[in-house]
Amino acid sequence: MHYFKNIPQALPPMIRAENINKSFGKLQVLRNVSVSLPQGRVVAVIGPNGSGKTTFIKTLLGMVVPDSGTIYVEGRSIANRHDYRAQIGYMPQIGRYPTHLKIKQLFDMMTDLRKENAPKSLDEDLVVAFHLRDMFEKPLGTLSGGTKQKVSAALAFLFNPPILILDEPTAGLDPLSSELLKEKIQREHDNGKLILITSHVMSDLDELATDVLYLQDGSVQFYSSVDDLKLETGEQKLGRAIAQIMSKTATSSKLSETIKI
């Protein structure tokens, strides 16, 4: 069964992965992953725990080097390069920072690092929305998990990069902050950026995602636009639509634990 369809491919892909394979020891985490991610889409990367989502994201960032296959960002292979990361804003799943550094210093450092490629004006929407400025003098070690998450989010958006990679962005955020972040993601989508989100919260993805990339056991099960997915299954909710597709492909018993609607 092939679900690779109707992802608008008119625009050149921002990110293209070709036959990515990766093993950790005997465990093969990515199997022949090939996808083209065009500009202006919000792609939800979903799959059961251990399906290779985080590894896939890390290969895009160059943190994990694939055993074979090539990744192109804006048309150029990323092998042995680091400058392309100026095009990417990354929000990690767990942000842990040097404990004695103040928030302000972290922001200063990041600005310092990305100064050359950064736009003149920084995008401080989230800094303002999360009231991070009031906490600028606090050491990072004293922050709660949620506040660190806010710092990570603000940093990812700060340099206005054309590609955003958000690993579980709303996990650990309070409802208000979570809404603020989602609004911001929506705005950046309207600005035509490519946004990759991994999440287990289907309702969030339902609001934001335009496409779904479903990974299981390290291979792409399907990659389709959300509208098509819903049309095909006749479901209104993303979570249900995916559940239906998955039960058709009838491979997964792990699915039930993953998808919470």
Binding site: K58, M63, R85, Y90, R96, Y97, L113, R114
Partner: protein, 255 residues
């Protein structure tokens, strides 16, 4: 590179552990020099403490720091920075802060009480010892992702250089006591940074007579400037090779 180093350094200097280490070294130094009117003896006692404590603290602190910085290193590696510069920034940050602690804790008191050539040799060798054990710690930390294993490896390295190695050398010495081993001893010394640092200082202290014929050979070698430069260079090699190897491994490592 120094952009990151600045913040790593700032983070560590504010760490209580490094402050405590500095105070401990200062307390030990001042008490040894203060209690004994003969600064030569003070220097000798201080040397023995330094040879145990400095490598231990350097290797353990650096290993812990590396593992605790893992997520931060991940974050940095998502920025437009090369792996090499991230790794070296971390190394320089840790090495500089521990060196600073050593210079304040041992360097200042030593210069006050025994600002002679001996004192300076002690400070330089202690400093290089710090750097080389930070290097070894980084090597241990990149070899395994598991913190417990990394710590274990770091401790084994320290144990080996601080205690086991000397035992092995003594064993060799006794087993082959019928042969002239002085040159061999000179070579064996070069294989252990701790021994190298010890010998460098001892040879400045006119107590080589206590060490028999080996001591005389050592004296001949190390008391010349030529010998001292060689010893310093070998110690420098002990600083460079572990961190260079570690950087190569880190370059290809999956984070």
């Amino acid at each position: 590179m120094n952009k990151v180093t600045k913040y790593v350094l700032y983070d560590i200097v504010r760490n209580r552990f490094v402050m405590g280490y500095t105070l401990l070294l200062a307390a030990v130094s001042f008490s040894f020099f203060g209690f004994d009117p003969d600064p030569n003896k003070g220097l000798l006692s201080l040397l023995n403490i330094i040879l145990m404590v400095v490598p231990l603290v350097s290797i353990i602190f650096s290993t812990i720091h590396f593992y605790n910085s893992y997520e931060f290193i991940e974050l940095l590696s998502a920025q437009p920075l090369s792996r090499k510069s991230i790794f070296l920034s971390e190394y320089i940050g840790v090495a500089a802060s521990l060196s600073l602690a050593f210079l304040v804790g041992v360097g200042i008191p030593t210069m006050l009480f025994e600002g002679t050539e001996r004192g300076i040799v002690l400070i330089i060798s202690g400093l290089l010892l710090t750097l080389s054990f930070v290097s070894l710690a980084f090597l241990a930390a990149v070899i395994t992702r598991d913190k417990a294993k990394g710590m274990g490896l770091a401790l084994v390295i320290w144990f080996y250089f601080a205690l086991v190695y000397d035992g092995l050398v003594l064993g060799i010495l006794f087993s082959f006591s019928d042969y002239p081993l002085e040159k061999v001893m000179l070579f064996l010394t070069a294989l252990n940074p701790t021994d190298l640092a010890r010998i460098m200082v001892l040879m400045k202290m006119d107590i080589s007579a206590l060490m028999g014929f080996t001591g005389a050979v050592f004296q001949d070698f190390f008391s010349t400037n030529y010998g001292l430069i060689i010893a310093l260079s070998v110690l420098m090699v002990w600083v460079v090779w572990p961190v260079a190897l570690a950087a190569r491994i880190f370059n290809k490592k999956d984070l």
